[in-house]
């Protein structure tokens, strides 16, 4: 009985192992594409942002802090972010859908320095890229966790669970064979005794 149970369990484990392996490979393929894109995008964004921040800090230094704060207190531009989740190999990955409206320049031009315009334009231009970067990076992060988990499962099945199952099955069938032989020998001995 136990032998039959173990055999069917082994079959399930092996099938699970195969499926998980496929999942891991699929995730890996997806992941590599994403991570490459993330790296390139990050480099681009970092360059732009450093430039933008520098421009902004210089511009802000031209004015008093209160003036800057006041100028930017009531933003006229609205950003909307819609979030969908996409299912990649059972990992829930966010998909950002981002839209903006209005002009970023929401202040009096007379009281502010022109550097402010420059830096705001840089920010506005790179915001879409930043959103995209956020999406890709976060996807990569979530997928990395999932890949790690899946890989552990695959390894556990491959190196621990399946071999142990095989060993048990072998042990039981050996034992059963042994029992059969000893029963047979017993019968033969009995027959011998009876005939002599």
């Amino acid at each position: 009985m136990e032998l039959i149970r173990l055999k069917s369990k082994l079959k399930v484990a092996e099938r699970g192992h195969k499926l998980l392996k496929e999942k891991r490979d699929g995730l890996m393929k997806e992941f590599m594409g994403i991570i490459r894109e993330a790296r390139d995008l990050r480099n681009k964004v970092e360059e732009r942002m450093a430039e933008g921040f520098r421009a902004f800090v210089f511009a802000a230094a031209d004015m008093r802090f209160e003036v800057t704060e006041e100028a930017l207190a009531v933003p006229s531009r609205k950003t909307r972010l819609e979030v969908d989740t996409k299912n990649v190999m059972s990992v829930q990955v966010p998909q950002f859908n981002y839209s903006e409206e209005g002009n970023p320049v929401c202040y009096a031009l007379a009281t502010t320095s022109s550097g402010l315009d420059t830096s705001l334009n840089i920010f506005a231009e790179s915001l879409a890229e930043i959103v995209r970067l956020a999406q890709i990076e976060h996807s990569a992060r979530l997928m990395a966790v999932e890949i790690e988990k899946t890989r552990r499962r695959v390894n556990a099945l491959e190196y621990v669970f399946v071999p142990e199952m095989r060993r048990n099955i072998k042990y039981i069938s050996n034992k059963l064979d042994e029992q059969e032989r000893s029963a047979l020998v017993g019968l033969m001995v009995m027959k011998e005794n009876m005939s002599s």
Binding site: I35, R77, A134
Partner: protein, 107 residues
Amino acid sequence: MEYSIAIIGSPTAILGFKALGVTAFPVASAEEGRAAVEKIRSGKYGILLITEDWAEELSQEINELKSGTLPAVTVLPSQSGSTGAGEKELRSIVERAVGSDILFSNE
């Protein structure tokens, strides 16, 4: 569902984003930073942007946020330029998934 974008950083750096409709959380101390993170955790924010200097300061809080589906945390370089923290983060993600650094090793 509609979400908004949040940004954490020093006041002088992130005010510009406010004009773009991003919710700005100017922080000057670690205490304020923690409060901001707390607010973001409970609010409807899809993306959290944080400048590198503050990401380091608040790393513990940020790491908790990172494991969830939302918000997506992204590190931006601060006004003093990029320190490579963002790239380091990517590298650690790769290492975690693949087991070794295969992307940046040849650079």
